[in-house]
């Protein structure tokens, strides 16, 4: 019989996550009595101050929700607006814009995933506290990762002039098309980077990852032909297959006292969004080059082991790079670099796949294009109940009698698998259904 006792584990500042979070666990009589991923990032009330702004101002405003994934915020917002205004999306200029947005977004996936793998996650698996500490022993691997991150940033800058809060996206397309020369230079760099991205996939698959398969429901966007990035339908392993417009009918958010980020549930249950969920649901949409490489790995996808998230990120870097290479290789500028839109009043809903997962936006517009109401559901809010469930399970698996440092480290590793962007998730608190 276990001795009656209470232990409390606090990790006051979580390292290597974006934003401010902490983990609280209370263990009583050998069981978890309380577990909370505390998010105390101050609310910035973005949804509130977007009200009264014009839709054309959205790209320069919503980018600031997240410094790591500003492109995602711009793309979800523009997808929402354009789904409402309904321009002809099949016209050649519109198709050019879609293709260039895909390239722009590939850059963000590459930089964000490379940042997470090398600076945030890999030290866990290799036994270091930080990436700089890892540099002496794994210098070549770190530099390979930083080079992929830098290439992603250059792709964003091709359209946006800078990689953090880029300034080139606008409603209808882009401010200016890159020159043939700029695109050509990047095309060559993308071509050269392919072996590095392939090696990265193999390297992540060979990391000493813990094994911890679990049950969870994956949710992502789904595109008729492509790996999902912007718009189309929302699907889940549980069988859900809905329009982006019907998101609010199935997913509910609620406030909890220990977090300034809302928690979200699908049909009342936790679910997973992000690279592993996307990959599991869209294996048939991968580039042939990625499929071939996956076949040689020892890891089977779909996978329900969250530790395979780091591999999924590397796979998506390769996917994004191969797509970027092809778009850049047959690039031709278009002037103007945008299509004209006819604004109208109504509810604009749109979604895209941020590096961390499904990012859903809604804007209620009046006939002048002024925002009357905004709602943004970021991936970390959606993952939060799943993270807490995973934590409870993982800590029990490690053994609640383990010393505090071991439990703390295990908890941090679990959280980092989700690459939570706490800065994003905390700016969306709003009045929700009373229950």
């Amino acid at each position: 019989m276990t001795e009656q006792r209470t232990r409390r584990i606090d990790v006051p500042v979580l390292a290597r996550v974006e934003g401010e979070g902490a983990l609280e666990v209370t263990i009583r009589d050998g069981r978890i009595a309380h577990l909370a991923l505390r998010i105390f990032e101050p609310p910035r009330l973005f949804e509130r101050f977007l009200v009264g702004h014009h839709y054309s101002e959205l790209p320069d405003l919503v980018a600031r929700i997240c410094g790591i994934c500003p492109v995602a915020y711009q793309m979800s917002a523009l997808d929402a607006i354009e789904r409402l205004f309904a321009p002809d999306r099949q016209s050649p200029p519109a198709r050019w814009v879609q293709r260039m947005r895909r390239l722009f977004y590939c850059g963000e996936w590459m930089q964000s995933h490379a940042l997470h793998i090398h600076l945030l996650a890999a030290p866990d698996f290799l036994g270091f506290d930080s990436a700089p500490a890892m540099a002496a022993r794994y210098g070549a691997e770190l530099r390979r990762g930083l080079a992929l991150q830098a290439l992603g940033n250059r792709i964003i800058s091709l359209f946006g002039a800078r990689s953090v809060h880029p300034v080139g996206a606008r409603a209808g397309g882009f401010r200016r098309a890159p020159s043939l020369q700029q695109a050509g230079a990047l095309a060559a760099q993308a071509e050269q980077a392919v072996p590095a991205a392939e090696d990265l996939v193999r390297w992540t698959a060979a990391l000493p990852l813990p094994a911890h398969p679990q049950q969870f429901n994956c949710v992502s966007l789904r595109h008729p032909a492509e790996y999902p990035m912007i718009g189309e339908r929302i699907v889940a392993e549980s069988g859900l297959d809905i329009s982006v417009d019907d998101f609010e009918d199935h997913i509910t958010e609620f406030q909890v006292p220990h977090s300034t980020a809302l928690h979200a549930l699908l049909e009342g249950k936790p679910y997973l969004v992000g690279p592993l969920a996307r990959l599991n649901l869209n294996l048939d949409r991968l580039h042939p080059g990625v499929k071939a490489l996956l076949a040689e790995l020892d890891i089977e996808f779909p996978s329900h082991d969250m530790y395979h998230s780091i591999v999924a990120r590397a796979v998506e870097i390769l996917q994004a790079l191969l797509e970027a290479r092809e778009i850049l290789a047959d690039y031709a500028p278009q002037e103007p670099a945008h299509i004209d839109l006819q604004p109208r009043a109504g509810i604009a809903r749109g979604a895209s796949e941020a590096p961390r997962g499904l990012l859903w936006h809604r804007y209620d517009l009046d006939s002048a294009g002024i925002i009357a109401h905004a709602r943004i559901v970021p991936p970390t809010s959606q993952n939060q109940p799943r993270i807490e469930a995973d934590l409870a399970d993982a800590l029990v698996g490690v053994g609640l009698d383990e010393d505090e440092a071991t439990l703390r480290h295990a908890g941090e590793m679990v959280i980092r698998n989700y690459d939570p962007c706490i800065s994003c998730a905390t700016h969306f608190l709003r009045l929700t259904l009373d229950r």
């Binding site: 934003g19 973005f46 945030l120 991150q149 406030q255 300034t260 002024i370 800065s423």
Partner: protein, 297 residues
């Protein structure tokens, strides 16, 4: 701007660098995390004592140089910045949040308590100050690097100067001058775009006019900016009063000259235009939010 004091004298030991985060999007810390080789080189020249996002956590460590990202928007942050000040010889505020309150300072123009109450089902679970303000409004700051975001070049140049024992240079020119240097066509004159270049400090490289679009002032006001005159010009271009106000309501609305323009033009819009749907009606612009946001000179 006053002359910054002498850089911290660092003896034989390696200089200690801390990176602290307050209310922000994390984008300014990326100036280091995106620095690639330079980040690794920096890590060899200094002891990074606290940089949570890079995995180094020791909030209470003493630092020679503290980079501070984010604005002060909660009571906890008010206390924490005092502690950071007491343990840091030099504070560099980086980015629009730290130097002017950031986009979240837009709530300073509204009725913040009302906003929070309308947004939260349980506002009692939330701890937030009525206004979002600059680091310099709470503690003395040795140097401010503006921008949303600051660039890797700005931050590395400032750190390099400090590590060499010299006070860093700060930009004083307006974006307009940068456009002229680069031979970029003026979007205000040739296209009638409501460009904030004439009143905005450079440091960005005049990126927006470089793409043929209007600057939206993310680096904040330059010295002696003629904001009122420029705002009148925007009115002449055909922008209604709401639209003129919104030109100053991106990331730098907490900076005094932009704050004043946004407030004045919103007031000007009030009698004529009906309130924006569900929005501006509750936001009483009074003298009260104004006084609390004098972030820096």
């Amino acid at each position: 701007m006053t002359m910054p004091p002498k850089p911290p004298a660092i003896g034989a030991r390696r200089p200690r660098l801390a990176v602290h985060k307050f209310s922000s999007c994390d984008g300014c810390q990326l100036s280091l995390l995106n620095a690639g080789e330079s980040l690794l080189a920096l890590a060899e020249r200094v002891d990074i004592v606290h940089f949570a996002e890079a995995g180094i956590v020791d909030e209470h460590a003493e630092a020679d140089i503290a980079l501070v990202e984010g604005s002060i928007s909660t009571p906890e942050e008010q206390t924490r910045i005092q502690a950071v000040r007491s343990r840091s010889r030099w504070i560099l505020s980086i980015g629009a949040c730290a130097t002017a309150g950031g986009p979240q300072a837009l709530r300073n123009l509204g009725d913040s308590a009302d906003w929070i109450a309308s947004v939260y089902r349980r506002p009692d679970w939330i701890s937030a100050l009525p206004a979002s303000s600059a680091i310099g409004a709470h503690v003395p700051v040795e140097l401010e690097l503006p921008g949303c975001p600051v660039s890797t070049e700005q931050v590395l140049a400032a750190l390099t100067s400090l590590l060499a024992g010299a006070a860093p240079l700060t930009e004083q020119d307006k974006v307009c001058l940068e456009c002229k240097r680069r031979g970029q066509v003026c979007v205000l004159v040739t296209k009638g775009e409501p460009c904030l270049g004439p009143v905005t400090v450079t440091g960005c490289g005049a990126l927006c006019p470089g793409l043929g679009r209007d600057c939206y002032g993310c680096y904040g006001p330059a010295e002696n900016p003629e904001v009122a005159t420029l705002a009148e010009r925007f009115g002449d271009l055909g922008l209604d009063a709401h639209a003129v106000a919104r030109r100053f309501m991106y990331q730098q609305s907490g900076a005094q000259p932009f704050h004043r323009a946004a407030r004045d033009w919103r007031q000007r819009a009030r009698p004529a235009a009906p309130p924006a749907p569900g929005a501006e009606s509750g936001a009483a612009p009074g003298p009260q939010p104004d006084g609390s946001t004098d972030s820096h000179d």
